[in-house]
Amino acid sequence: MSDTDIQDEAIKVDTEKGNFKYPENYEFDAGVGLTEDTIKYISDVKNDDEWVREFRLKALEVFKKKPMPTNWADKDLENIDFDKIRYYLSKGQVPARSWDDVPDDVKETFERLGIPEQERKFLAGVEAQFDSEASYSRMKEDLEKEGVIFVGSTEGLAKYPEIFRPYFGKVIPTADNKFSALNSATFSGGSFIYVPKGVKLKQPLQAYFRINAENFGQFERTLIIADEDSEITYMEGCTAPKFETATLHSAVVELVALKNAKIQYITVQNWSSNVFNLVTKRGMADEGAEVKWIDCNIGSRLTMKYPGVVLKGKGARGEVLSIALANDGQHQDTGAKMMHLADNTTSNIISKSISIGKGRSTYRGQVHMPKHLKNCKNNTECDALLINTNSRTDTYPAITTRGENNTVQHEASVSKVSAEQIFYMMQRGLSEGEAMSLAVNGFVNDLMKAFPMEYSVELKRLIDMEMEGSVG
């Protein structure tokens, strides 16, 4: 078998990797549509505390009142029919601590996705969510001894309210936007993590989100609190089978980095092309703390996601590194928000997007230095690569600056793969497709280095895969 054959083999496996499903059999099903009863059903199943019930019901009211953001956003949003979605599906509320205890079909799902294998290889802990609830959740024992908490949202709020409640819904209030309100009403699953003072996790924690059911909405909720001088890297991945109908994924992720803590949050989003991925992500960085979002969007029908950092304490740092790949029929509407609220804060945004075929990628950003601050810095770079003549890219940054000795710079450029580049590589024996893949990988290469090894290998493969057949 030649090298090329091996490569093809790997690609073939990958293409179909996420596209399979198991028959639906759920013990808990909130039915179709969203009413107060749906919310009460979720609360009952989860045995929510009274304040959580109230929080959900209030959020439902906010959700109903808020208009769709279609005055600026993609009109495709109007195609979401909230009355046809199923808001809660699970086989039980308590995740297994051992893969042996996970129901067979679910276990097979995650085995096919390679999660247990990755866990053994390089992860400090894994949570695997199947539709509404985590089926499996386990963290290395030594971390537990150090006081690290790694649980689901229900367990986090029920067992450790004194830790999580003060920050829950504070970084992203319910009324932040229509979809954060929807999540606040219906949330289930996700990770609640607390890293105690001074604890530095050497290996990442990982969550994997899997949608199996059709017409389903997944609303996981994640809250990560890194106490003073602690460090954590969190990774999430996701897949869903290719359905004919639209599926909704609307998460809320809140990060809290206390004094001098560091949080790195890595996402590889590879939803199937029927998923609306409407996610609100925001981190709060206290004095000297650092919040870094590494965000990679390859899948979904429409993604709207603008990870943000509120730089609340002096000397805080915020960073968003993002890669988006928009293929035919996809709109990757991504970006970043940096709110500078203290002196000497710095932020960095690097966004690279690739549009293939009729794909559309959009960068939307906000950099805000509203108060009379000193010595704040922001750097934003947006590069877009357009592969085909009908590909599209947009850039819509919004920058407000005040204060003393602050500097903000924004740069964006649009380019294509040059004919000379391709010609050069083809002369040296590469096929046009290979040359194109290589050029695209080169375009994102410097950002790719920011990802952990295992992820960047995976990403390269995904990009190769998406580039297949895009030339000509």
Binding site: N71, W72, H372, K374, A384, L386, I387, N388, T389, N390, S391, R392, T393, D394, T395, Y396, P397, A398, I399, T400, T401, R402, G403, E404, N405, N406, T407, V408, Q409, H410, E411, A412, S413, V414, S415, K416
Partner: protein, 433 residues
């Protein structure tokens, strides 16, 4: 009181043709039908729309003869010119027409009313036909209904005119509403240059300006337009400017904005032919509580064309600026080169600069970039100069004027450039600490 907002009246010119009456009526309808801008409107993002009011302004009667004479006297920024018009509160104060030689070649330079009477076909084709699409449609409607002052320049095929046509638009009366209009039509391979100057008689007379300027540049035409906006700080101003550039046309816009309490400047360029090259440059000096709201739009409907934009703002005190620019490359407009740069210099910690540099690219073989920077004076550069014995104040002045010079030199006229430097110096030299 009969304010134009509550009861706008259409201006009627003697023997107005039907098409003009239609356009005025349509404008009035548009003005009445559209709401005032709201904070939710993307086109008005960051603008303090809550404080925006056009209440209580009125079209005024012609000022006294001595006022007109005095202001014509003060209309002296450019002495070497081909033609001149001076309006005060939309009333004609002076008009220097073109030479017979140019007339013989078919060049037209006339006040609007005369142009309508003498060249109805030309005016029907171009007058009030093009408007910006950047959020001020309501105000364009008001302009269309009310416009009576302004000049029309028509340069036929192949005629090249070097010296500029200079139009002065003054405000004078109490709470006067003015609607200046500049229309430039350069046929294929024609060449022309126009300077529009906006002044207030005193520092105190409050005024509302809703001006429109349309440039039509035919194939291979060359049009150079300069704008000097130095209203007093009691003026609310809307400038709605468009450029349409045909194949191989070269158009250059240079705007220097100094005055007004709040100034909305919309500048839209539509490229309709390959080989066109359009430049849009602007310099703004904002102080006190001034708000400059700049919205630009570069549309490339044809490939192989170039557009380049540079907007520089210097801010003092509590001033605010908003730069919102969009480059749109239409599907199929390959080999487009489009650039957009916004530079904001914050000279006081209370000043606020907003930048919204946007791109919408629907073709892949293009070179497009935009950049926006906001910052203070470079401390290292300041230190360098001070270490060579230059006082801090002088060093600051050198650096700030250095920042301006990039745009000022683009007016390509020593006389105008020097006059602009004086205007800017008068405004804020004393403020540089």
């Amino acid at each position: 009181m009969n304010t134009i907002l509550e009861n706008p009246t259409q201006t009627t010119l003697a023997n107005a043709p039907a098409w003009l009456a239609d356009r005025r009526t349509a404008g009035l309808e548009q003005f009445k039908a559209l709401p005032m801008p709201s904070a939710r409107d993307e086109m008005w993002r960051f603008a303090s729309v809550g404080r925006l009011s056009i209440d209580g302004f009125n079209v005024t009667d012609a000022p006294a003869a001595e006022t007109l004479t005095a202001l014509v006297e003060r209309s002296n920024l450019i002495t070497k010119r081909e033609g001149l018009s001076v309006y005060v509160d939309d009333s004609p104060a002076a008009f220097e027409g073109i030479s017979e030689a140019l007339s013989a070649k078919g060049v037209v330079y006339l006040p609007i009313a005369e142009a309508i009477a003498q060249h109805p076909e030309l005016m029907e084709k171009y007058f009030l036909k093009e408007s910006t699409e950047l959020g001020s449609e309501k105000f364009f409607g008001l302009h269309a209904a009310s416009v009576k002052a302004g000049s029309v320049l028509y340069v036929p095929k192949g005629v090249e005119i070097e010296k500029p046509f200079v139009n002065y638009y003054w405000t004078s009366g109490a709470r006067a509403a003015v609607f200046p209009h500049t229309l430039v039509i350069a046929e294929d391979n024609a060449k022309a240059s126009v300077v529009d100057i906006f002044f207030s008689e005193t520092e105190e007379n409050e005024a509302l300006n809703v001006s429109v300027s349309n440039i039509h540049a035919g194939a291979g035409a060359n049009v150079f337009r300069k704008i000097v906006q130095d209203w007093n700080e009691k003026t609310v101003s809307f400038q709605l400017d468009t450029t349409v550039a045909d194949r191989d046309a070269q158009v250059k816009n240079v705007a220097v904005n100094i005055g007004a309490e709040r100034a909305r400047f919309e500048n839209q360029t539509r490229i309709e032919g390959p080989g066109a090259d359009v430049k849009m440059y602007s310099l703004t000096v904002a102080e006190e509580n001034q708000e400059f709201d700049q919205r630009t739009f570069q549309t490339h409907n044809a490939g192989n064309a170039v557009s380049d934009l540079l907007y520089k703002n210097a801010l003092l005190d509590n001033a605010r600026t908003i730069f919102s620019g969009l480059i749109k490359v239409a599907e199929g407009a390959q080999q487009t080169d489009a650039y957009q740069t916004n530079r904001n210099l914050l000279l006081d910690p209370t000043a606020e600069a907003n930048a919204l540099p946007g791109l919408e690219i629907l073709a892949n073989d293009v070179k497009c970039s935009h950049g926006a920077t906001t910052g203070n004076v470079d401390e290292d550069e300041l230190f360098y100069m001070m270490s060579r014995g230059i006082s801090k104040r002088v060093a600051m002045q050198l650096m700030v004027f250095g920042f301006f010079e990039e745009v000022i030199e683009k007016v390509e006229s020593d006389e105008l450039a020097e006059n602009l430097r004086i205007l800017i110096r008068n405004k804020f030299e004393s403020k540089i600490k």
